[in-house]
């Protein structure tokens, strides 16, 4: 039940936002718990955005993994 899915904020109306889960279908979620802007990615759990996903950190995660990968090929 702690499953949460990333979605992109398409438009905002007060505490509600329409988000895109990646299939182009817009769903309404509650954004009271986050400070999110249009175009940002949020993690949605049971109809509420619980956090904003950092794109920069996502890239760093990938480079962290890559560095492990390279180290193991040495």
């Amino acid at each position: 039940m702690c499953l949460a899915i990333p979605a992109k904020i398409m438009n905002i109306d007060g505490t509600k936002a329409n988000v895109d889960f990646g299939q182009g279908v817009l769903r309404e979620v509650n954004i009271s718990l986050v400070e999110a802007k249009i175009g940002e990615y949020v993690l949605v759990h049971a109809g509420y955005a619980i956090t904003v996903i950092s794109e920069e950190e996502a890239k760093e995660t990938l480079s962290l993994w890559n560095s492990v990968l390279e180290a193991s090929q040495e």
Binding site: M1, C2, L3, A4, P6, G22, N30, S32, L33, V34, E35, Y41, L43, H45, A46, G47, Y48, I50, T51, I53, S54, E55, E57, A58, E60, T61, L62, L64, W65, N66, V68, L69, A71, S72, Q73
Partner: protein
């Protein structure tokens, strides 16, 4: 962070490489037992067969990570009692079949009670608004990931005919409990990523500091989990337990301050019962006094003396704390199946037994 990025998080070559890093470290580790406390982690591990990638001396076990499974029978009984008083119960789908002492909410529904599934807490609010003549109670189950949404709605001027039966629980006290379980002997924690997105890193600091327990907050892609296992094994081998954040793309060190503030406004922390575990201090949430009108227990004078958590023969209490694996329970896939579950761990889609039942081929 479209599909392409997501696929990188599942790159099989990278998974193999991390697995081989773990294998090369493992001989120095002796026997090492790593515990996670999240149903979604168990799903990732089981669904992707990650245990098969680990060396024999590195074991990953599932702790009390299913918020539906650990709701004690007493609180199911409270919901049933409310429903039988004519209050419409709204709840998440997973809660419906969780056994109470006498019956589940589904069985109460079959005998005439009005029990409805909602996808979000806000749905419960909308339903109550649409039918102002009926009384509604939202059965608020879940860990720190879910509790903030209950807080938002409780603080957001809910309709007078809506109240909340709050059964939220907090994860760090359950992790601390596991460290005291005699022969469990855990060597490291994988901390739950989405709970951590709310609470941040601070609540875990005591594990490396006080208990010398390597602790890594991890995401839910297979590589996230493998990476966290690698980080824990490395800490263990080096003898330097610390708190690390593998899921920094989602988890900020301070957590979600806005959500924490909203939670703190709505709830006070109290002791709570956990199915199969018993009472844990400071592990549950209760609506604050100024919200007492919305507390279903007070509003409808709900009272249940004691409940029966575990049926005879069911080993859920041992599965919940990771002491046995689901297939070590004599009822697993015999008397207890996803279609006819006996214990709570087989009911919820995040219950360890249910996850294993759905992935039998992978486990064997």
């Amino acid at each position: 962070m479209g599909m392409a990025e997501n696929l990188k998080f599942r790159n099989p070559e990278m998974a193999q490489n991390i697995a081989s890093k773990i294998k090369s470290l493992a001989p120095k580790a002796g026997k090492i037992k790593i515990c996670h406390v999240c149903g979604t982690h168990e799903w990732t591990i089981t669904h992707f067969g990650l245990r098969s990638l680990l060396p024999e001396n590195v074991e990953v076990i599932a702790g009390p990570g299913c918020p539906v499974c650990i709701v004690p029978a007493v609180e199911i009984d409270e919901a049933v009692q409310l429903a039988q008083k004519g209050v419409v119960i709204t709840c998440f789908g997973d809660v419906l079949r969780v056994p109470g002492s006498k019956m589940s909410l589904l069985e109460a529904k079959a005998t005439g009670a009005d029990v409805r599934i909602v996808y979000a807490t806000s749905d419960a609010v909308e339903m109550a608004k649409h039918e102002p003549r009926k009384q509604f109670a939202f059965f608020a189950v879940g860990f720190e990931t879910t509790a903030p949404s209950t807080a938002v709605e409780a603080l957001g001027n809910p309709p007078e005919n809506l109240s909340f039966l709050v059964s939220h629980r907090l994860i760090p006290p359950a992790m601390e409990l596991l460290l005291g379980v005699g022969d469990l002997q855990i060597d490291g924690f994988i901390a739950p990523g989405h709970v951590s997105a709310i609470i941040g890193l601070k609540p875990y600091e005591l594990f490396p500091r006080v208990y010398r327990m390597p602790t890594v907050v991890a995401g839910f892609e297979p590589i996230d989990v493998l990476m966290s296992v690698y980080m824990i094994v490395k800490q263990h081998v080096e003898g330097k337990p610390k708190l690390e954040n593998e899921y920094s793309r989602v988890v900020k060190p301070e957590g979600n301050l806005r959500a924490l503030d909203i939670m703190n406004k709505a709830f006070t922390v109290v002791g709570g019962n956990w199915r199969g575990i018993g009472r844990l201090p400071d592990s549950a949430l209760q609506l604050r006094e100024f919200l007492a009108d919305y507390d279903a227990r007070l509003k409808f004078n709900v009272h249940v003396e004691q409940g029966k958590d575990i049926l005879l023969g069911c080993e859920c209490h041992l599965v919940i704390i990771g002491k046995i694996k689901p297939n070590q329970c004599p009822m697993f896939l015999k008397a207890c199946t996803p279609e006819k579950p006996v214990g709570a761990c087989m009911v919820s889609s995040e219950g360890t037994c249910r996850v294993w039942a759905k992935n039998v081929a992978v486990q064997e």
